[in-house]
């Protein structure tokens, strides 16, 4: 399976009314536009649209990305369950600020038998943890905290949890 680039930039604009109710509108821009050109085009449309409304545009988001072109024609594997989470909590460079990542449908092969602990010594698990830590991906592009603090390592042993599901 491979991920394919989405064809458009999707722009989602959030408008607040006097009572702080939020509602959004959206439009698309061609993905061929550079990031700077896309933000300029988005703001031109937002500025023109704002003349016609009496709410306040509070934010807008520029959304790109990739998608799995074989889904849903190719079904996910038997036994997959997105409510079975692999919970990884990381430390950041800001004391007390942790980064929690819940990987859906963690493979039970990586759970230490007789426990809910995910085996950090396993090479595949270690590769994921290394990629999350600052410099793991190089060029300063590894994940960070919501405020932009670098991730320094695991806070504790990663665990498997299972959330309840309305689907049973």
């Amino acid at each position: 399976m491979a991920l394919t680039a989405t064809p458009n930039w999707e722009v989602s604009v959030t408008v607040a009314d006097r009572d702080k109710n939020l509602r959004s509108f959206s439009f698309n821009l061609p993905s061929a536009l550079t990031f700077a050109a896309a933000t300029a085009a988005a703001e031109a449309i937002i500025t023109a649209a704002a003349t016609l409304i009496n709410g306040v545009v509070v934010r807008y988001g520029l959304l790109g990305g990739k998608y799995e072109s074989t889904y849903p024609a190719t079904l996910p594997p038997e036994g997959s369950d997105v409510e079975r989470k692999g919970v990884f909590v990381f430390n950041s460079t800001v004391f007390g600020q942790h980064v929690k990542v819940e990987l859906p449908s963690i493979n039970n092969d990586y759970v230490v038998d007789g426990s809910n602990i995910i085996d950090q010594a396993d090479a595949d698990v270690a590769a994921f943890v290394d990629a999350m830590v600052d410099t793991g991906l190089g060029a300063g592009n590894s994940p960070v905290s919501a405020t932009g603090a670098d991730i320094t390592g695991l806070f504790g042993a990663p665990k498997k949890i299972h959330r309840s599901s309305s689907k049973g």
Binding site: R18, L52, N54, E68, P72, G148
Partner: protein, 157 residues
């Protein structure tokens, strides 16, 4: 003025065999370019997929800009929406929906009073011209150029 929030979001959408869905969000520095987000996505995907057994259906890259002006909305409600139609061909119009339309811009007389944009109002005319011009850069979800010939605007609730 729109200013960037500190980080951009890397949104991992997953699905399991029973149509269960999950979203996991990671953060990257806001300055990460789309090209770097692309390579980071591929690198993280290569280490995440081996330890999970569901399908990553989509990875979204979301850069958010917030408005740092402290203006307050005028009296009005987001429950109303302006539907603006643009002509594509005899069979199809494309639309943009704008929440919280300004009631000052509706027609005031005739059968469409209070529901249709007043195209005799110079402010409305110039705003529609600006919107049509700006939409020339836009596309439909299918990737077709967005039409720029404005037809009519009206209130929907």
């Amino acid at each position: 003025m729109f200013v960037p929030v500190p980080t951009m979001a890397l949104e991992w959408h997953a699905a399991d065999r029973d149509k269960g869905r999950a979203l996991t969000t990671m953060r990257l520095p806001f300055a990460v370019s789309p090209a770097d987000a692309d390579s980071v996505t591929d690198e993280l995907h290569s280490v995440i997929q081996p330890i999970i057994n569901c399908t990553i259906t989509r990875v979204g890259w979301r850069w958010i800009f917030r408005n740092d002006d402290t203006e307050t909305a005028e009296i009005g409600s987001n429950t109303q929406v302006l539907l603006a139609l643009f002509y594509r061909n005899e069979d199809r119009y494309d639309a943009i929906y704008l929440p919280s339309p300004d009631p000052d811009y509706w027609e005031t007389t005739g059968p469409y009073a209070g529901v249709r944009l007043d195209m005799s109002n110079p402010t409305v005319v110039s705003a529609i011209e600006a919107l049509s011009t700006a939409l020339a850069e836009a596309v439909t979800p299918a990737g077709e150029p967005f039409p720029t010939e404005f037809v009519v605007g009206g209130k929907v609730v």
